[in-house]
Symmetry: C2
Subunit: 358 residues, 2 copies
C-alpha cells in the first residue's frame, strides 16, 4: 500500500504527506542543520556561497521553514497581537494598516483579532492570543474584564491601549480624548450659531468610545448654557447606517425644532442624512447633521458630512512603534501616554450659508 522503502515514522498519520525538515535539507546540501538555520536569517554568519547553495536546495525541495519549532526554541514567537472591535470599519482598518507598516522589516508579523465591541469576546481573544505567546499586544480602548487585565499583566509583554485615554492604563497608551474631540465639535458648531443640539448614539456603554463622545457632547452643551442636549439612543453599538436613519426620525418627532444633530459616527450620520433626504427635508437647511471619524463616505456623499477627522493610521503606526521601542530597550521606557491628533472638518452638512442642497 505504502512505499515500503520510506523510513517509517510512527507518529505520521496515515495519508499525510511526508514532511520535509531542516535536517533533510541540510543532508541534501551536505551541511549541518544549524547552518541551514543560519542561512535563513540575515544576520547570521554563513558564507555567501553556502547560503546560495542552501537556498537553491530549499527551492528545489520546496522546503518551508517551520516557525512553530523555531519559536519554541528561540522563545520568540515573531508576532504581535492586535485586537480591534470590528473587521469592517475603515477607521480600524486604517489603524491596522498603520501597525502593519510600522512592523515592516522588523521580522514581526501582525495577528489581528476582532472583539465585536465585547469585553467578553476580548477576554477570550486575549487568552487565545497569549496561548501563542505574542511578543506584544495592542488593544483598542481601556475597558477590559478583570481576568483579561490579570492575564495581560502576568504575560510580561508590552501592552499598548489605543483610541482612548484610559483612566488606569495597563502599560502604554496611544490615543486621544474622545470626549474632548466631541466637545470641540460642539463648540465649533455653537460658534456658528447653532443652539438646539441633538445627539444620536447607541444604547449601551459597550462601545466605550461612543460613551465618551456622548458625555463630551452632554457636558459641553450644558457648559455653553444650551440646556440639556436632546439625546436619542438607538441600537446596540456599533450603530448602523439604518439605525442612524431610524434614530433621527424619533429625535425629530420628539424635538422637531432641533437645529443640529451630532452622531456617534459618520455611518449613523450618513443614514440620518439619507433618511431626511428621503423624507423631503433638506440638509443642512432644515436640519444640520454631523458625524465622527471622517470615513471615506463623508467626503463623497451629498451633502458632504461635517465630522471629526481622527489620525487612525497614526494611532496604529505609533502604537506599533511604541511597542517596538519597548521591546528593544528591554521595557525600560516604562509607561507613557502618546497623544494623537484630531480635527474638525467642516463640510456641507452643517453649512448654514451653503447653497441649498438639491
Amino acid at each position: 500500500m505504502k512505499n515500503e522503502d520510506e523510513p517509517k515514522d510512527k507518529r505520521l498519520k496515515p495519508g499525510e504527506a511526508q514532511k520535509l525538515t531542516m535536517a533533510e535539507v541540510a543532508k541534501y546540501v551536505g551541511v549541518s542543520a544549524m547552518t541551514v538555520s543560519r542561512a535563513f536569517r540575515q544576520d547570521a554568519s554563513v558564507s555567501e556561497e553556502t547560503r546560495k547553495r542552501i537556498m537553491e536546495a530549499v527551492d528545489a525541495l520546496g522546503y518551508v521553514l517551520d516557525l512553530s519549532a523555531g519559536s519554541l526554541s528561540s522563545r520568540r514567537s515573531g508576532f504581535i497581537a492586535a485586537l480591534v472591535p470590528s473587521i469592517n470599519n475603515s477607521n480600524f482598518s486604517d489603524t491596522a494598516r498603520g501597525m502593519t507598516d510600522a512592523l515592516q522589516n522588523t521580522g514581526l508579523q501582525l495577528l489581528l483579532g476582532y472583539t465585536d465591541y465585547s469585553a467578553e469576546k476580548e477576554e477570550e481573544l486575549i487568552e487565545a492570543m497569549l496561548r501563542r505567546r505574542p511578543e506584544g499586544i495592542i488593544l483598542t480602548g481601556g475597558t477590559h474584564t478583570a481576568r483579561a487585565r490579570r492575564m495581560l499583566v502576568k504575560a510580561g509583554i508590552p501592552v499598548v491601549e489605543t483610541w482612548e485615554l484610559p483612566e488606569n492604563p495597563i502599560n502604554q497608551v496611544v490615543g486621544f480624548s474622545n470626549s474632548e474631540a466631541m466637545a470641540l465639535l460642539v463648540r465649533t458648531l455653537a460658534s456658528q450659531g447653532y443652539r438646539k443640539f441633538g445627539y444620536i448614539g447607541g444604547t449601551t456603554a459597550r462601545d466605550t468610545r461612543g460613551s465618551q463622545r456622548r458625555s463630551g457632547f452632554q457636558r459641553t452643551v450644558e457648559e455653553l448654557g444650551l440646556g440639556p442636549g436632546r439625546m436619542i439612543s438607538f441600537g446596540v453599538p456599533p450603530i448602523t447606517m439604518e439605525q442612524g436613519g431610524q434614530a433621527i426620525v424619533s429625535l425629530l418627532e420628539r424635538w422637531p425644532d432641533t437645529e443640529v444633530v451630532l452622531c456617534v459616527s459618520d455611518l449613523s450620520a450618513f443614514g440620518a442624512i439619507m433618511e431626511c433626504t428621503r423624507r423631503g427635508m433638506k440638509v443642512p437647511k432644515d436640519i444640520a447633521i454631523a458625524g465622527f471619524g471622517d470615513y471615506e463616505i463623508s467626503s463623497i456623499c451629498h451633502p458632504r458630512i461635517t465630522t471629526i477627522n481622527v489620525d487612525c493610521y497614526g494611532i496604529g503606526r505609533q502604537a506599533a512603534a511604541r511597542l517596538l521601542d519597548t521591546l528593544h530597550t528591554g521595557e525600560a521606557t516604562g509607561d507613557e501616554i502618546t497623544l494623537t491628533g484630531y480635527k474638525v472638518v467642516l463640510r456641507e452638512s452643517t453649512d448654514r450659508n451653503g447653497a441649498p442642497t438639491v
Copy 2:
C-alpha cells in the same frame, strides 16, 4: 541586581519575567505534567475531581497554555489560514464571519491575512502562513503566482479557493461565476428596456473578479445586439467611491446618451450616483446606475442602488465547512466545486417608473 534565590535559567533574557510551565502547575497540584495537559482538553480522560483541582491551580498561578509547544508535539497547529483581498470591505468581512462561525467549537482558529489584491503579496502571505503550519488554507480567487501554487500543493493541506470559479482549481472551490452574475444583471436591465449600456471598472486585471464581471458585461451586451459596451477604466482596483465619481464624468463626456451604467462594485456606483446628484443629474431619470455586491450602503443611500446580492457569508461558511470535511475524512473527498447563490436586487437607481428622486 537580580533575585539570587531564583533558579537561574541560562537562556532567560535579562529582565524577562519568569515564565510558568505546565510542569510547575503539575508540581503545584501534585500530578504529572501529562495529567495537566489532559485536563486542558475536553475529551481526554481525567477524573472530574483532578481536573477541577488542576484548573483551580491554573487560575491561582495564572498559567496560560503554550500552544506553540503543544502544536510542535501534536503536529497540529490549531489554525486555518484565510487570505482575503481587503480588510475593509464588508463583502469580505461577511465571508470572514462565515468562516469564523463555521469554525466555532472545532478547536480551530481563523488567521486572516490581507493580500491587497496583489498576487505577489498573496505569495508572501502564503509563505508566512505556511511557516506556521496551518491545517488548511482558504484563498480568495483562483489567480496565484506559480511559486504560490507550488507551495500550496506541496504543503499537503486542504486548499479552498473562493469567490470565483477558477479554470484550474488547486483543490476545492466555493464560489460563483462573476461573469454570469454580471451577465444576469445586464439581461435583467435590458429586459426593462435599457439599450445603451456603460461600464465602470478598474484599470488592471489585478482584481480578477472585477475582470470577470467586465467580460461578462461585454459579452452579454454584444450577445443582445446592443453593440459594444461603453467601458471606462479608472483607477487601480479596488476602485474607490471617489474614482466611481470621476469615472462616470468621463463616461458621460464621451457617451452622453448612455442610459444605464453598471459598476464593478456598489462603492464605485455610490460614488457615481453622488457625483451625478451633485452635478444636478437625476438618478435614475437622467441616468440609471447599478452596482455589484449589495453592500449596506446600497440599501440606505438615496436613491437606493440596484445591485447583485452575493451570498458572502455563505461562501465563508461553506468554504470552512468543506475544509473541515476534508480534514475529518482524511482528504478522501477530493476536489469539488460548491456553487453559491447570487441574485439581482432591483432598486430605485434603475427604476424607470419610479418617482423622480428629490
